[in-house]
């Protein structure tokens, strides 16, 4: 009898778990948050997730949502694993009165998988500075928004900065540049852009893979010591970044010759290596760490009320990136509301909002993001909206901005985007939209 009742309890519990209580309160916009707060990538996943959640909380607390529509959210732990991410996506995509607004999985692997599913489910993907580089082409990828920058943008800007340090593009000739990358779609993405640059500028390019999760890099750095490249680009994530810096120090490779991508340039990447990280450089997805106008409101409406998700990552690089992620998403919803009315938006309407989003300098200032992000505009054709990035350097205590804005060279990247997206369209039998006819 005891066993039977135990079984019944278990059955009831599982039934309760299956029946997602769809408390359909009408005036709510649902935000699914795919996060990873556990596993080898958690040090970087947590601050981003905190920033994303805090900005949504801020809108609720300060403005009562967006135009009177309250924002609701639910987190789902992916652990950076693709199959878990797909499960989370399926779990959350139809919650809320109008379904999920958009997904930001913060994982290139999950983005690749969701890219196949999003068009069928009509849910946009907002991938801020990661994901398929060719998804910039909105004609082929109507549901992907690779906002602010792709890995190809990053690769191009990194080379531009190296040229700048050396004193001109002609100085790149004969130089050796090595990419140390996370051996996954994430790390492999920049390779074509760097190869294209190597051909144009005449430097020798070499790619050195590091297997997931990246705690074992001894042989790679020994090879680098033998090879003595002039610069090392680092495309790591999670524990891989700090390990790379430690290994570079162990083989005596100068840290100021290492340039990380914007996913290798946050506090959790440098602090574990202590003083060894001094001098290490990284790209910025435009924004730095630190407090800006929006943080004043966050202090007032979220932190002081104890509603912040953040513990000790407040105003860090990735936390701020989370804020920007939510800001762009919610502004897209606001844009959509202008057309469709002040009610919860469906995924399709949010997609329209993204495509017609125009973040002007005035609007950015109004939102309190002045100094964090430059004006950004999406269009039917262009789902990236910006090509700018800066470079920062770790001085042992904080990130210091050491360059102005670089603009990625579109004469190199645009043909690559076109070629790659055409190939994708052909493989998947997609007829690209005619953007001249879209309103």
């Amino acid at each position: 009898m005891k066993k039977l009742s135990l079984g019944l309890v278990a059955a009831a519990l599982s039934a309760a778990a299956m029946s997602v209580p769809a408390m359909a309160q009408q005036n709510e916009q649902f935000f699914p948050l795919l996060v990873y707060r556990t596993g080898p990538y958690a040090p970087n996943g947590i601050p981003f997730a905190d920033g994303v959640a805090d900005y949504l909380t801020l809108l609720n607390e300060r403005d009562g949502g967006i135009n009177g529509v309250k924002l609701t959210m639910e987190e789902c732990e992916t652990g950076y694993a693709t199959d878990k991410g797909v499960e989370c996506y399926e779990r959350l995509k139809s919650k809320g009165p109008t379904g999920a607004s958009y997904f930001s999985p913060l994982s290139t692997g999950i983005t690749f998988a969701l890219t196949e599913k999003a068009p069928g489910d009509k849910v946009p993907l907002l991938t801020l500075g990661y994901g398929r580089s060719e998804s910039r082409n909105g004609a082929v990828f109507p549901w992907n928004f690779i906002a602010v920058g792709s890995y190809w943008t990053a690769a191009d800007v990194a080379i531009q900065h190296i040229a700048n340090e050396l004193g001109g593009f002609d100085k790149l000739k004969g130089k050796k540049i090595t990419l140390v990358y996370h051996d996954s779609p994430y790390g492999k993405e920049p390779i074509p852009a760097l190869e294209a640059r190597a051909k144009i500028n005449g430097f020798t390019f070499k790619a050195v893979p590091v297997t997931h999760p990246g705690v074992e890099q001894k042989s790679q750095w020994l090879a680098i010591r033998q090879d003595r490249p002039d610069y090392v680009l680092l495309w790591g994530w999670g524990v891989m970044n700090s390990t790379a810096i430690k290994e570079a120090a162990a083989v005596g490779y100068p840290r100021d010759k290492i340039i990380g991508v914007w996913w290798s340039g946050a506090e959790p990447d440098v602090t574990p290596a202590g003083d060894q990280s001094k001098g290490y450089k990284a790209l910025m997805l435009q924004h730095p760490a630190g407090k800006f106008a929006v943080h004043g409101d966050l202090d007032k409406f979220v932190l002081s009320k104890g509603k912040s998700a953040s513990k000790d990552d407040y105003a860090q690089v990735l936390y701020n990136r989370g804020l920007i992620n939510s800001m762009i998403g919610t502004e897209a919803i606001r844009t959509a509301m202008k057309k469709f009315g002040n009610k919860p938006m469906t995924g399709e309407q949010v997609r329209w909002g993204f495509e017609h989003l125009n973040l002007t300098a005035d609007r950015i200032k109004e939102l309190g993001f002045d100094g964090m992000i430059q004006p950004l505009q999406f269009s039917c054709q262009d789902h990236q909206g910006a090509d700018l990035a800066r470079v920062q350097q770790w001085d042992g205590k904080e990130w210091k901005i050491i360059s102005g804005y670089y603009k990625a060279d579109l004469s190199i990247l645009d043909p690559m985007v076109k070629e790659a997206s055409d190939k994708y369209a052909k493989e998947k039998n997609i007829t690209p939209r005619d953007c001249s006819k879209e309103s």
Partner: protein, 369 residues
Amino acid sequence: MFYRETGQFKTSYVADMAIFPIRQDRIALWMMLAIAFIGVPLMDAFQVWPFASEYLLRAILIPFLILALATVGLNILTGYCGQLSLGSGAFMAIGAYSAYKFATGVTIGVVSLPALPVLLSILLGGLMAALVGILFGVPSLRIKGLYLAVATLAAQFFFDWVFIRVPWFTNYTSSGSVTAPALKFFGLTVNTPIERYLLCLVFVCVFALLAKNLVRGNIGRQWMAIRDMDIAAELMGIRPLYAKLSAFAVSSFIMGVAGALWAFVYLGSWEPLAFNIDRSFQILFMVIIGGLGSILGSFLGAAFILILPIVLDQIPHALGAPISVETVSLLVFVVTGALICWLLIVEPHGFARLWATGKEKLRLWPYPY
């Protein structure tokens, strides 16, 4: 009482040799099949709870079916033939990538094949996995047990490496991630979750039936003889070469097909990480928890290992408990791990034996002894 087969006389060899000799089992099986093939699509068509959203189909049933198929595959090798293998992920990957190559058109040397139909590609993917399985099965003739596990582990790491490093397999995509072609079967495109589910269900039923009949026949007896004592089996005239390699071939074939389905039907876009060592362990745990040497156990094991964490993950939220996701995901690890330990202590032979014991009790009910 429930399982009393009194009065069920077998009057022919056919009846005597049936897969399910007891009438109650047959009825239960047909009912399960009816629910799976007719009930689920009907419930889906009328949007009956819990089929109102696609979640159950897409995130639970489809992966469950595919992983159950892979578990059946490994169970043939490990459960029936006694060859411990940690290479399941590799064989699934071979199935997936070969199927991808066949489905997108492949040129090998001078032979250039056009893009083959998806069904044929999936089966050819299985065939490729079988060939590689035979190759990696050769060491099993000399080494046993844990040593063999290490040899198959080599296959796992080798193919992880191959599919990351050799761009030919991914049709030279820059990111190393590939996307499955449209699922077209005889002119019909399989797209909705219910169609995908039915597709997997057909594969699973066909291969489960095939596997069940194989293990009941001559070759299955050879496998089990090898498992129980290979020297005695050899003395009785069973050729270890043939028995072991056939087990590797059949098992890898099924795992290859499962891998192709996992890639094509469930993920849609994948990278080698989808078939890494964790997948091999997951499948092996499914076999062990379900019960070594049992087709039914494969299904039970797959359900336990796959679905339990997902359910546990959602309980706190469903109950409205304010627990953060990281605590929940850690709790899931703890609870799942504890349950596996408990189960293996209480019933080391897995769910299959649990069910067999239960059945015996039901037969004798209300006077069990």
